[in-house]
């Protein structure tokens, strides 16, 4: 039985490692300027964690194989060096690993969160509500109209609660269900939650940030590859959570301008 356990364990360990080693399941290609750091961090961690995983399982299997169900009265002995070796080893191995991961991990994090957006970044407001995202562009006047929660009227596509009757700024605000952005231009996304907590997750952008009601957060990123990518909500927000998504549409600069004109004409 002990031998069987060892064999099964080794098989499980190898089988578990196989899809990782062969990159069977991976994130889609990164299209952001900061993402590569996260990816490197991820693969470094994968290497370290993977090795410790296999090592631990194999050692466990080996010990069980060797020391299970020996004949009665067979001489027992202790691991040379005893506990002290173990503790020292754990401290050195894991300690360094932790430190390394910690320190390098912070670099990637700092890159995303501690660098302020460039002043010329394109400002877009994102609003998350049950159960859809809507995005707002300031329009020609470059100003966002104020938000009046009491004026929200979804049947009439007034998702942000704008008051064009009384406020000129909001008349030219462009509201869209897709996030259209120009390629290679930094986007400063200001995040506003209409009702409950939501989250903004684009795998290709390596960006995930919660919408917190009453707290206006923002993220900034630069997309380097045109195309259509999925924006999904990752914060449980109610019955339609699974279906809360929108599209990120990265366009060439002139396509983006065309798109803006077309949207403006619909106003």
């Amino acid at each position: 039985m002990g031998k069987l356990f060892a064999v099964v364990l080794v098989i499980i360990a190898l089988a578990s490692a196989y899809p990782i080693v062969t990159h069977m399941y991976v994130m889609p290609e990164d299209i952001s300027t900061h993402g590569h750091q996260i990816d490197e961090q991820l693969s470094d961690t994968m290497a370290e964690a993977g090795i410790s995983f296999l090592l631990a399982q194999f050692v466990l299997a080996f010990f069980v194989w060797t020391f299970a169900e020996r004949k009665v009265g067979s001489k027992l002995k202790n691991f040379p060096g005893g506990a002290k070796v173990m503790v020292a080893a754990a401290f050195i191995l894991v300690g360094t690993e932790v430190l390394a991961l910690g320190v390098f991990g912070q670099r990637a994090w700092a890159n995303v969160y501690f660098t302020p957006p460039r002043p010329d970044a394109l400002q877009i407001q994102a609003q998350a509500g049950q159960f859809a995202f809507y995005f707002r562009y300031p329009g020609v006047d470059g100003k966002f109209g104020a938000i009046h929660p009491d004026k929200i009227d979804e049947g009439n596509q007034n998702y942000f609660g704008l008051d064009p009757a009384n406020e000129i700024e909001s008349r030219d605000d462009i509201v869209s269900a897709e996030l259209a952005i120009p390629v290679n231009r930094e986007i400063h996304l200001m995040m506003h939650a209409k009702d409950v907590g939501h989250s903004f997750y684009v795998r290709e952008l390596r960006i995930q940030q919660d919408f917190v009601p009453g707290l206006d957060l923002s993220v900034h990123f630069t997309a380097t590859k045109t195309g259509r990518y999925e924006i999904v909500c990752t914060q449980l927000c109610g019955l339609g959570h699974y279906n809360m998504k929108a599209y990120l549409n990265v366009m060439a600069q002139d396509d983006f301008e065309k798109w803006m004109k077309q949207k403006a004409s619909e106003l």
């Binding site: 979804e154 049947g155 019955l239």
Partner: protein, 236 residues
């Protein structure tokens, strides 16, 4: 209570009989609903979040909060007798509210108090029906594709905004009315309330964005009275 009900039904049936028998003698109120001023521009709906619906439209459909027709006709206005007519028992056939292409068909559904209401989902995605009733009991149910219709009824008169939580652009209206004398203005804004026994009536027109208007009208015999409503339209 029960006896009262029985009595009411008796009366109602009598009324029904008289009205139906009195079709030649019954009067009619008809007319047009129009608007003045500039109504809000109906915006195209972006359904990209729901591909199965989006692909049903060559060009994106627009919102339906204010639907207008030629020469200022105003559609989707519920015209009904708010006073003067006896309450009637509900018809047995049910009013059907269909979700198709992530829209409500019809956009405004009028039916009677206690008349069975059937909600169908003909889409490939699951919808959520949330009638925001204030007087009646509020409910909020999801309807995955391939599930049986949701059957319900309302026991008090009310205009109930209906929304789908999953698809924020989906909005409609339930008009729960006390009698069978109602009509929803068509593309040309026209409506007609036939079979009115002689009497004095209050005719009311309800629009989801522009509110209510009422007019008095007296029917003697089998005449046809013409009543028109004009709503004030706002650009925003």
């Amino acid at each position: 209570m029960r006896t009262k009900q029985a009595f009411m039904t008796g009366v109602a049936i009598l009324a029904a009989v008289t009205t139906t028998s009195a079709v030649p003698g019954g009067g009619t109120v008809s007319g047009k609903v129009t608007y003045e001023g500039t109504p809000a521009k109906q915006k195209p709906i972006d359904m990209s979040k729901e591909p199965s619906c989006a692909k049903q439209y060559a060009t994106p459909t627009t919102t339906e909060t204010v639907v207008t027709g030629p020469n200022n006709a105003l559609e989707n206005v519920v015209v009904y007798i708010s006073a003067g007519a006896a309450d009637e028992p509900p018809p047995s056939q049910s009013a059907v509210f269909t979700q198709k292409g992530c829209r409500y068909i019809p956009h405004v559904l009028a039916f009677q108090v206690n008349q069975p209401l059937e909600v169908l989902n003909e889409d490939q995605t699951s919808h959520n029906i949330h009638p925001l009733a204030k007087i009646n009991r509020e409910w909020n149910k999801s309807q995955p594709p391939g599930t049986p219709p949701i059957v319900d009824k309302y026991d008090k008169m009310e205009f109930i905004p209906v929304k789908c939580n999953v698809h924020p652009w989906m909005h409609g209206t339930f008009a729960v009315l006390k009698n069978s004398h109602y009509s929803i203005s068509s593309g040309d804004g026209g409506f007609s309330l036939p079979n009115l026994p002689p009497g004095k009536y209050t005719v009311t027109a309800y629009h989801e964005s522009y509110g209510e208007q009422s007019q008095e009208v007296t029917i003697a015999g089998s005449e046809t009275k013409s009543v028109n409503f004009v709503f004030k339209a706002k650009p925003y």
